[in-house]
């Protein structure tokens, strides 16, 4: 009787210990996944920043033309 009971709870403790280890590992993975998605977002916004015209335009009209070009491009992409 006693060995039987002991065996049951012993298995539970062993399972518990290994489970705790796995859980900690999974929590770590989850945190790293969150970091990764943050990096992805930052990468995306940096890509946008990089594609914007960087040279300073004193001519307002030239700027407007570029804006128009960008709008056309966006619409074209939307149509695809």
């Amino acid at each position: 009787m006693i060995p039987l009971l002991a065996l049951e709870s012993a298995e539970r403790y062993v399972a518990g210990a290994y489970l705790v280890f796995l859980l900690l590992l999974l929590i770590y993975v989850a945190i790293m996944a969150a970091k990764l998605s943050r990096i992805q977002r930052e990468l995306g916004s940096l890509a946008e920043l990089a594609e914007r015209p960087t040279a300073p335009r004193s001519d307002h009209d030239v700027g407007q033309i570029h804006e128009r070009e960008h709008e056309i491009e966006t619409v074209r992409q939307g149509e695809r």
């Binding site: 002991a6 062993v14 705790v20 280890f21 770590y28 990096i39 930052e42 940096l46 960087t54």
Partner: protein, 231 residues
């Protein structure tokens, strides 16, 4: 080019970890015999002790990186030191939790002051837990790194000393130890060593992973700064 090499190493490490750790636990549960004294609960040994050993070695490794950092001033050594401590602290948490479960299963109590490994580990863990408030409290990045390195070295010197002290503090009546690795039969020793190797690989994988992630964030910051400067 160096980054490409690095990511290959990370992949290899990860695969290696899965293979070795997996093999270790298969061996532990299917090849190793059940312990005569403790019964099935002794299987936690294959988890708890490798975790503890790797964590402690990790902290010593961190001290070595810290020494390199102080000697060269190169921040990459500081990063390695920091991440080594960080991953070891996480392992340390696992050590304490699995140790408590083992204690509960073996002796019916969640903690046992007469278990020298657990107690000395708790003290070391508490010490390294202060690493975070220490770094957080110093704003100047260069000074923060230097002071953290001094701490890492001091704490690294502390680890063996503490272990010795707690061992000595045990009453001469036989302490309640989980088991010692000395006198382990071969059938248990080999699975144990494989698990140990697997844990070490796991540690290395996580450290590499974390360092990569930090490097990526760092590079992104550089790019952002550069772009915002020219915009």
């Amino acid at each position: 080019m160096a980054d490409a090499l690095k990511s290959i190493t990370l992949r290899r490490l990860a695969v290696g970890t899965v293979v070795v750790l997996g093999a270790g636990y298969v061996l532990a549960f299917f090849a190793a015999p059940e312990d005569a004294d403790q019964g099935f609960i002794q299987k936690i040994f294959y988890l708890h002790v490798p975790l503890a050993t790797v964590a402690l070695c990790g902290w010593i490794v961190a001290a070595i990186h810290a020494i390199r950092h102080l000697r060269t001033g190169d921040p990459k050594h500081d990063a390695r030191s920091y991440v080594s401590i960080h991953i070891s602290v996480i392992f340390g948490l696992a050590v304490l939790l699995t140790g408590a479960i083992w204690a509960k299963g073996s002796w019916g109590v969640w903690w046992e002051w007469k278990e020298p490994t657990l107690v000395s580990f708790l003290i070391v863990f508490l010490l390294y837990a202060t690493y975070y408030p220490l770094r957080y409290a110093i704003e100047d990045r260069d000074r923060q790194a230097r002071y953290a390195s001094v701490f890492a070295i001091t704490a690294g010197a502390f680890v063996p000393l503490n272990f010795l002290a707690v061992r000595l503090a045990e009453p001469l009546i036989h302490p309640r130890t989980f088991s010692s690795t000395g006198g382990l039969p071969d059938s248990m020793l080999w699975p144990f060593l494989v698990c140990m190797a697997g844990m070490a690989l796991l540690w290395a994988t996580l450290v590499w992973f974390e360092l990569d992630s930090k490097a990526a964030s760092g590079n992104l910051k550089r790019i952002r700064r550069a772009l915002e400067a020219t915009a």
